[in-house]
């Protein structure tokens, strides 16, 4: 009986310990995750105003400009539905370029500019971050659907 009680105590302690550790890990996770938003979502105001988040899309051609100090760059990021200006101070990763997919981490300023703390690098020219690929597809699909509906409706009325 005594050995059995001891074992039950052990199991109980283990369960409590694991539970405690899991809840600590989860609560720490809450403050350390960065959600991803596309430019269209940011334009619609879906992003958090007080937290760091990730913005992804394509760098618009001919928008990459270097500021006076030489270290700050500004460029526009688009998902083909909306465009958000981005400002970043520091050295850009090697494969950063206009027309390329990009994911940046930072906050949205009051002026509507996204101030990036970090621009994620990639290791392969043909690599596209999955989130960016997703948003481009949805924006593209939406555009196609919107473009398609007006032409489809008259067609339907005609057959009726």
């Amino acid at each position: 009986m005594k050995a059995r009680q001891k074992r039950m105590l052990f199991v109980g302690l283990a369960v409590v310990g694991v539970g405690l550790a899991a809840s600590l890990a989860l609560s720490a996770l809450k403050s350390n995750i960065a959600y991803f938003f596309s430019p269209a979502q940011v334009q619609a105001g879906e992003n958090p105003s007080d937290a760091v988040f990730r913005l992804g899309g394509l760098v618009v051609e001919d928008t990459l400009k270097r500021q006076e100090d030489g270290l700050t760059v500004r460029f526009d990021v688009t998902d083909n539905a909306a465009t958000i200006p981005v400002s970043y101070t520091g050295i850009l990763p090697d494969l950063f370029g206009e027309g390329q997919g990009v994911v940046a981490k930072g906050r949205l300023g009051a002026d509507g500019t996204f101030y990036a703390q970090e621009v994620l690098a990639k290791h392969d020219e043909s690599y596209m971050p999955p989130e960016v690929a997703d948003t481009l597809q949805t924006a593209h699909a939406k555009g196609v659907a919107e473009a398609a509906t007006p032409t489809q409706q008259p067609a339907r009325t005609m057959t009726q």
Binding site: F36, L71, I91, D94, A121, K122, H123
Partner: protein
């Protein structure tokens, strides 16, 4: 013609693998000895055919045969010879071929070196290896054949990703794969033991050296990867908690737990089911790592372009392996008797605690790595887990591991007295407290860095307690003079452990110092100007054009001064590769035992000025030095003559722990 030969060799290897998966196992169950004896020659045959395929692919690279799609994608006629060779495993298909080659190599090594193992055991082990090889060969032939042809034949190849044109990366993947695949041997031994229903000390003794060797390779592979990321990516970091890095860390963590658990199973006959479970998970996590890297389901800074179809295959394979082995475990493990009772204060307990801490950390890393997938699956949004979270988890667990590390090896098996341990370790403990107090009292070391005194004291504790343990062992043998004799005799696995644990202490010092005292600055500099960082003055002499074999570069020249004395000339480069026009930052580093000075070029910002990044990295080398010590420790342990004599003994009916159990 030769690529077709390679393809044919792969198909033959698959046929052999199928036979190897079925017949020796069937023979071992029905007692058919000729079938069991088929295992060894089949393993050799498989190695031969996969080696033929590998040589064929290498030949295609060396002769720049761009009619082979994989060669055209990953090579270029301008590529230096040495990188034409390492480009063989520079992409997905080739690295898979390398993986399978190593798998066959490990299988053949088991077949050749386990002459004294009972025939049914070796037959089952080789059959399990055959099953794994079947899965991977099918994967390769169905979704990623390296010998696929390309028509029309392009005049020039796309070039090897410039990041991979580096000696560090030529060796890093092979080491990592040797480690990953090496755990397949521990896995095969575990499955074979489950099938046979006999998990005993002999089984642990057989699989222990194999596991250790695999662990050594993985340790070196991860350290090389970290070192490569540090100097080649130009960001100066040594670990990013990136999914791809985590993928290699998880098998290492579980592998480390497995090493320690195997020690208990061999010496005391305890923890048997647990050890089997760890062996299953170590290999499963290796497979999961492959899945994460190859499927592209996670956003990773290391991600290369991937193909979801491949991910699906690996995922299915993973389900079969994990599901199958766990089902077997659930079916057979209850029949395995548990042995070796032990008290709360004993070496078994501390090794159990070690296992729990390592497993807990693995679970946390796994959770943090998969959290984006979990969130996405539940439609909670697209997230990424920041590295501060991983750091927090690491900091929450590792101090306990370090504390335990000083006690475990000093404790006796089965039962120990608290007073005896205290008498043995009081000096080490007192000196560590002195280190803690001394560093905490120095504002330069502790102000704003509360972890620095803790880290340094823990490192001192690990080191000093191990010195005490060595002294205690030698006390009865005639003091420190007996060290060399002991090393030559049966003490190697003991000193292996001491060396590896000393590596942990060195690693702790490196991590503590570099994470708290590194400095980093993005600056704009014009030729002739200077910038001061951490007491070092960086003078930019100029940036000029230069030409490499397959790239053009802007090559900077820096002089670094400490006070008035010049201590280094640094030449960072910004390269543009001719093959794809891909830019590459080549950092310049002045390495030292106590600090690295690191410069990488950003881009020209007009008027001859450059944006660039300067780093000061104290004690960063200690991180890799620690890993090297761990690896040396592992090798020392494997070289213990005990394993050779043990093998001879293993042939005889096994007594010892089994009888006691």
């Amino acid at each position: 013609m030769i690529p077709e030969l390679g393809n044919f060799a792969l198909i033959l290897a698959l046929m052999l693998a199928l036979v190897q998966a079925a017949f020796p196992l069937a023979g071992s169950l029905s007692g058919n000895r000729p079938w069991m004896r088929m295992g060894r020659p089949l393993a050799y045959g498989q190695l031969t055919f996969i080696a033929v395929a590998f040589v064929a692919l290498t030949q295609a690279f060396l002769t720049s045969d761009f009619s082979v799609l994989y060669v055209a994608q990953n090579s270029n006629s301008l590529l230096p010879e040495i990188y034409k060779f390492s480009a063989v495993w520079g992409g997905h298909e080739g690295s898979l071929l390398l993986w399978v080659l190593f798998l066959a190599g490990w299988g053949a090594a088991v077949a050749a070196l386990s002459r004294d193992l009972p025939l049914p055991v070796i037959a089952r082990v080789l059959s399990v290896q055959g099953m794994i090889a079947t899965g991977f060969l099918l994967f390769m032939l169905l979704t990623s054949n390296p010998f696929e042809r390309l028509f029309p034949v392009p005049a020039e190849g796309r070039d090897l990703n410039p990041l991979l044109q580096d000696p560090g990366l030529a060796v890093h993947p092979p080491m990592l794969y040797m480690g990953y695949v090496g755990f397949s041997v521990a896995f095969a031994f575990a499955i074979a033991a489950l099938i046979g229903g006999r998990l005993d000390a002999a089984w642990a003794r057989w699989s222990r050296p194999w596991t250790t060797v695999a662990w050594v390779f993985l340790t070196i592979g991860i350290a090389l990867g970290s070192w490569w990321a540090y100097y080649e990516l130009g960001w100066g970091g040594w670990w990013f908690w990136d999914p791809v890095e985590n993928a290699s860390l998880m098998p290492w963590l579980i592998g480390t737990a497995l090493l320690h658990s195997l020690a208990v199973t061999e010496k005391r006959g305890a923890f048997k089911s647990w050890t089997v479970l760890l062996a299953i998970f170590a290999f499963s996590l290796s497979l999961l790592g492959t899945f994460l890297v190859r499927s592209g389901v996670l956003t990773s800074v290391h991600a290369f372009a991937t193909d979801p179809e491949r991910g699906l295959f690996v995922l299915l394979f993973l389900c079969v392996v994990i599901g199958g082995s766990l089902a077997l475990y659930a079916w057979r493990a209850p029949e395995v008797s548990e042995g070796g009772r032990f008290d709360l204060l004993s070496r078994e307990s501390s090794l159990l605690a070690n296992n729990l801490l390592f497993s807990a950390f693995t679970v946390l890393v796994l959770f943090g790595t998969l959290a984006p997938l979990i969130y996405e699956a539940f439609n909670w949004g697209k997230i990424s887990v920041g590295f501060p979270w991983f750091n927090k988890m690491f900091l929450a667990l590792s101090p306990f591991l370090a504390l335990l590390l000083g006690i475990g090896p000093a404790a006796r098996w089965k039962h120990d007295e608290p007073l005896r341990l205290l008498r043995l370790l009081w000096l080490a403990l007192a000196l560590s407290v002195v280190v803690l107090a001394a560093t905490a009292a120095r504002p330069a070391l502790s102000e704003g860095h509360p972890w620095v005194p803790v880290g340094l004291a823990l490192a001192a504790w690990v080191l000093l307690s191990h010195l005490t343990i060595v002294r205690d062992r030698l006390k009865n043998k005639g003091g420190w003079r007996a060290l060399t004799a002991d090393l030559r005799g049966n003490g190697r696995s003991f000193y292996g452990m001491i060396t590896a644990h000393a590596g942990v202490a060195v690693f702790i010092v490196g991590v503590t110092m570099v994470s708290n005292f590194q400095l980093e600055e993005d600056v704009r500099m014009s030729p002739g100007s200077s910038y001061e960082l951490a007491g070092y003055r960086f003078e930019l002499i100029g940036v000029e054009k230069s030409k490499g074999p397959n790239y053009n570069a802007d090559r900077g020249h820096f002089k670094v001064y400490r006070g008035e004395r010049q201590i280094a000339d640094l030449h960072p480069e910004k390269r543009s590769y001719l093959g794809g026009g891909m830019p590459m930052t080549e950092a310049a580093i002045d390495a030292g035992l106590l600090r690295d000075i690191y410069v990488s070029l950003g881009e020209p910002v007009g008027g001859g000025d450059w944006a660039l990044r300067l780093y000061y990295k104290p004690y960063v080398r200690w991180i890799w030095l620690g890993a090297v010590l761990m690896a040396i420790g592992g090798l020392l342990a494997v070289s213990d003559p005990r394993y050779r004599t043990a093998r001879a003994r293993a042939a005889a009916p096994v007594g010892g722990a089994t009888a006691r159990a």
